[in-house]
Symmetry: C2
Subunit: 147 residues, 2 copies
């Protein structure tokens, strides 16, 4: 998704295109990685010392709600990434080194949603993250055992 498309989506949702909001998206877009709220705050504060940390958190929450941004809870704290396509996906997270990989698997809730709906509960979304140990950290562990 291009930078322009993000701004279009915001407009479609009736949200204002504030400078701060644009900058947050641009930062995530340009640095093209996963950043914490504080990372983004520190980056943007270089140009705008008046920026409020709350504004970063508030917008990240908003952008997450409308699906433009993914919130990834890591053992060491939350990071955020831009959504490529407006669709969500899930992650494989190493509990040792915090490395994150995207995965294609998504729990199939279609059957469950119908059931829940018949019980009056409207399913609106889900969070799903897989935790484990990456190959590098596994190798490190083996080496340590040998030592």
């Amino acid at each position: 998704m291009s930078k322009h498309d993000y701004l279009k989506v915001l407009k479609e949702k009736g949200l204002k295109l504030t400078v701060q909001r644009r900058k947050i998206i641009e930062t995530l877009h340009q640095l093209d990685g996963r950043m914490s709220a504080r990372d983004i705050y520190q980056e943007l504060q270089k140009k705008n010392p008046n920026l409020s940390l709350d504004t970063v958190y508030r917008n990240l929450r908003l952008l997450t709600e409308i699906g433009l941004v993914h919130h990834i809870p890591l053992p060491s704290g939350a990071v955020f990434e831009l959504s490529d396509d407006g669709q969500h996906h899930h992650h494989l997270v190493c509990i040792n080194c915090d490395k994150v990989s995207c995965i294609a698997y998504c729990p199939d809730l279609s059957g469950f949603s119908s059931y829940a709906d018949s019980e009056g509960f409207k399913v609106l979304g889900h969070i799903f993250e897989v935790y484990g140990q990456c190959s590098e950290c596994r190798n490190d562990n083996k080496q340590r055992i040998v030592d």
Copy 2:
């Protein structure tokens, strides 16, 4: 799982049966609901004013790691519940009123885990929570629209 069983599991894991640890489990057991770290802290502080809030957080994290306790992230903050059987399960959470129901569905990661393992990644666990709107909150919304 009885109170005694929890203490047995702790012992098996080589963890100390501290007074604070026992009290945290007993509180979750007796009040038999879902409580925030602060709820538990405030309850236990009545009897032990020296109790540290950090101790509550630290033990809830530990108990969650070994599977005796479930951590449930709600929009308004995290709550904890004792695990009935040492097995995990997932929840349906109303984003309006924070009501929580347990659900039987659990994402099937067996195939994915084998694949991940062949790539060097050892899957150790996952988090999964379903969000939506409960029947009561849906009805409230309808009424508001009619008004």
